[in-house]
Amino acid sequence: MRNKRLKKIIFDWYIYIVLVIFWIASSAASPFFRTTSTFSTILVSAVPIALVGLGQTFVVLSRGFDLSVGAVASLATAIASVTMIWGIGPSIGSIILISLVIGAINGFGVSKLKIDSFIMTLGMMFFLTGVSLLIRPSPGGFIPTNFKKILLYHVANLPLVPFLILVLAATVGILVLQKRRFGREIYAIGGDPESAKMSGVNVDRTRIKVFIVSALSAAMAGLFISARIGSGNAEAGAPYLFDSFTAVFMGGTLVTGGVGCYRGTVASALIIASIGHILQFLGITIWYHFIVKGLLLAGVAGIQLLIVGSERAE
């Protein structure tokens, strides 16, 4: 009994165990790693991954993929860099509106037209990348200093606002998925869409909502990215596409949907953001972080499947 409970705790929190081990080992290995400025940078670079990962967690939990998140983030930086001349408020408003429309179209295609989510969002990704390149052919544009200052607001060398964004995203993600009806419906659809439908879940509407959440959180990530790089860039969001999948899968959400949670995604986002730093401090070429990331992803996914398999066997 006791053993079983311990096993459950390990299963639920193993990614945090990995994170803590990772941080302790890194701090022991390099004196430069255990400084507040390092952790501040890690926190700031984890924010866009966690934000994109928020929507992606919702989508993967409901048995889908969203390949358009990177393109939505890029589009948000492109639009921000063009429209922020006329004021921050209208610019953010228009970005939110556009992302809502994009998410609704994705959701409509997936639920009503029965197009596979991978294909639907792949097409959307190509389309939006083209649009972003039209709006912003080369990186640049205008991002107001105030906007950058607010989003990257530091108190005593600690990134207060990025930290608050992370906490807010985590709260929303965990609360909605675990406590709200919408979240439970997502798990039901991910478990088995047919039985979800029979137990009265409006599958189509929930799926549309899921894709809207995904596009919205990707657009928020895009806004944060544009504040970080201080400009618009039609390719700035592209790396976050595969990072979002890495974060979701590493965080314990199953590709087949229905199993997983957002807290794992947040921890993975922090791990992904830390890998580059620790390699740098150990004097290893930064490019190795890809290899570490890939091995971690395959390893964690493999171990997790072993655990799930042994639980099913019991």
């Binding site: 993929f65 390949l67 990177g70 295609g109 037209l113 029965k114 197009i115 596979d116 991978f118 294909i119 639907m120 792949l122 097409g123 959307m124 990704m125 190509f126 389309f127 939006l128 990348t129 083209g130 649009v131 390149l133 039209l134 052919p137 390719e235 700035a236 969001g237 592209a238 790396p239 596409l241 595969f242 999948f245 890495t246 899968f249 199953l254 590709v255 087949t256 070429t285 490019w287 190795y288 972080h289 890809f290 290899i291 570490v292 990331k293 890939g294 091995l295 992803l297 395959a298 996914a301 493999g302 499947l305 398999g309």
Partner: protein
């Protein structure tokens, strides 16, 4: 599957694409006189050979119910390995090494998916990220080395005025068309895509087929990489894309498969459809660039075509 008068609608799919191709080309030829010349059509084929071979490999994987996200990364890793090994002018041995590297990476993918039961998206995504790292670590993000003279003459050479590499692409397509139609392996691939459990029950050793499919995918990606290396002469670092090494061409290969009309979930489709899919994309892009519209319009159009075609499929019940 909808039937109209006892006629299977999905069988018309390649026909629709052929018709679309003819109509588009006719209109383009009417507007721009240079379009319908042998030279131009040959160039369209020539410029899309590498994508065509990758899409061919991707078709096989998708038919078997999987997906290979690492195909673009394998492609670029062969370009790099080939260029590094060919620096002192050797050709045969480096080429063999390249193809073995591609096959080995594919086999690792297949083993991870079939034996360790890692989902194909996760396994090939992890492989793509690992290969991205390997590529950057070994080259530092820039191109190093160059192609051997023999490879250059192979990639740029012509037989009766027809590019050799395009002939390679066409013959590979014919080869895999025959393999999928005639051999037991071809039927097993499609059986896997239709239903894993049914294939298991009918005695197919699933893991062997899966390993073989991913191995072929890796090998074909390596072949495409070698041909590209001879074409480009030096591995000019065009592989740098934000999403990861080879991510763009990988996504384009999936797009070509889908536009060709192969079912994304596997089981139905074929390499001949993918060939048409690549042609449709190529002809449309060619028209766009003749109209003076840049690459951003091409990317946008790519998305629109995918959505339009799968939208139509879903309306007539093919998807």
């Amino acid at each position: 599957m909808k039937r109209i008068g006892g006629f299977q609608l999905s069988a018309t799919q390649p026909l629709i694409l052929v018709l679309a191709l003819i109509v588009i080309s006719a209109i383009a030829g009417f507007i721009t006189p240079g379009f319908l010349t042998f030279f131009h059509l040959k160039m369209i084929l020539y410029c899309n050979t590498m994508l065509g071979i990758l899409a061919l490999a991707q078709t096989l994987v998708i038919l078997s119910g999987g997906i290979d996200l690492s195909i673009g990364a394998i492609y670029w890793i062969t370009v790099m390995v080939g260029a590094l090994l060919m620096v002192d002018g050797r050709f045969i041995l480096p080429s063999i090494v390249c193809i073995i590297v591609g096959a080995a990476i594919g086999t690792i993918n297949g083993l991870g998916i079939s034996r360790l039961k890692i989902p194909h998206v996760v396994m090939t995504l992890a492989m793509m990220i690992i290969l991205t790292g390997t590529l950057y670590v070994t080259t530092g993000g820039g191109g190093r080395g160059r192609a051997a003279q023999e490879l250059i003459s192979l990639s740029t050479g012509r037989i009766f005025g027809f590019p050799i590499i395009t002939l390679v692409w066409i013959s590979l397509t014919v080869l895999f068309y025959v393999i999928l139609k005639v051999t037991a392996f071809g039927w097993k691939v499609r059986a896997l895509g239709s239903s894993l459990s049914a294939s298991h029950c009918s005695g197919i050793s699933i893991w062997k087929v899966q390993v073989l499919v991913y191995m072929i995918s890796g090998t074909l990606a390596a072949v495409a990489g070698l041909l590209y290396l001879g074409w480009a002469r030096t591995p000019y670092p065009t592989f740098q894309s934000g999403a990861g090494v080879g991510a763009n061409i990988m996504l384009e290969s999936i797009a070509a498969v889908i536009i060709g009309g192969t079912l994304f979930l596997g089981g139905r489709g074929g390499v001949e459809r993918t060939f048409l899919g690549v042609l449709v994309l190529a002809v449309l892009f060619s028209i766009l660039s003749m109209a003076g519209l840049g690459v951003e319009w091409q990317i946008m159009l790519n998305g629109i075509i995918i959505l339009a075609i799968v939208g139509v499929h879903s309306r007539i019940g093919l998807q």
